[in-house]
């Protein structure tokens, strides 16, 4: 039997983003720079998988508004069965081209697999994310991104469905707190 590392050694960060090593990380390769993208469908939620190896205390969500702000967003964390662990609730989208810091009820998660969830109530406002040429909807499915239509505000229980667009939003959870 071939010799192989028995475990991966993940360092503990201060934030976990959708594209960090705990999230889609190396799965993605080069996505280029994030761009401002309209939300694909009003009231749709996108769920981005991430994993943690030790219990971590989530204190904030970090959102990245694009070039246009409109309406409201909701952000949260779900477990693999679709049960909501925490969410902020509907909140007005932050200022354009600016980090939006959302303080949440502190909650411990992990170890295990979870989903970061983001939903918007309109298709006018934009979020920073990745929709590069060459990224297809089915590649996004391969990466493990899920979605749910009619999920604003984020429901207590989500029914995960296959993703139907080639878009990966950029957002994160904070473990250390930003002012």
């Amino acid at each position: 039997m071939a010799d192989y590392p028995t475990s991966f050694h993940l360092l503990t960060p201060s934030t976990i983003s959708t594209i960090g090593q705990y999230g889609l990380g190396a799965n993605i390769g080069s996505l280029g720079n994030p761009t401002s993208n309209t939300w694909p469908t009003a009231n749709k939620a996108l769920f981005i998988p991430f994993r943690v190896a030790v219990p971590l205390n989530v204190v904030q969500f970090l959102l990245f508004t694009g070039a246009t702000k409109s309406g409201n967003v909701d952000v949260g964390i779900y477990d693999v069965s679709g049960t909501r662990i925490v969410s902020f609730g509907s909140v007005a989208q932050g200022n354009v081209n600016t980090l939006q810091v959302v303080n949440t009820t502190d909650v411990f998660i992990g170890p295990g697999l979870f989903y970061m969830a983001l939903a918007m109530d309109n298709t006018t406002g934009t979020q920073m994310g990745f929709a590069p040429a060459g990224l297809t909807t089915d590649m996004t499915r391969m990466l493990g991104v899920m979605e749910m239509a009619s999920a604003f505000p984020l429901p207590a229980n989500a029914t995960f469905a296959s993703v139907s667009q080639a878009f990966i939003p950029l957002f994160a959870i904070s473990l250390g707190g930003f002012s």
Partner: protein, 180 residues
Amino acid sequence: MSVIGEQAVMPLGNIHVHSIEGNGANFTTAGGSLTTAASAAWPGTNRGHLSFFAVQTPIVVTQLFCYNGATVSGNVDMAILDSTGRRIVSTGSTAQSGTNQLQVFDITDTTLFPDLYTIVLSCDNTTATFFRVQFGNSFVHLGVASLGVASAFPVPASIVFGLVNADYMPLMGMTIKTVV
């Protein structure tokens, strides 16, 4: 940033050739970035292409998938092998279906314990196409644990690993979820 200590890492729902359990960043470094994948004809009748992956925590695999290209033809077979090439579970010969999309195959739910495994895709013709990445030459495949076998359709009970015959790494994978 602090080092907590070694902890087993579970997969992100899907394990595929670009995930950290598979070849992950190796592909990016070697030039096989996911977004460069394109549809191309299968390089050899009855050939199989394999990719190694590691499991750190016990998982239950429920489905396998491949990414069909612009033309579908004939039949495919997918399987998970152990590190010696012994078949653990397979889909069996199935008609290739659905262009430019994932084809998902339900399998007998199979528990994989921490170890090294191989996923294999085989096809019985060279008209069928799949989304694949390339590295510029077939030798790079050795460096990213991408292997091939000449006679792999349907996937036999045991495979002797060999070299790829073309610069071709199909996009494929598996899931521990109920929906890909």
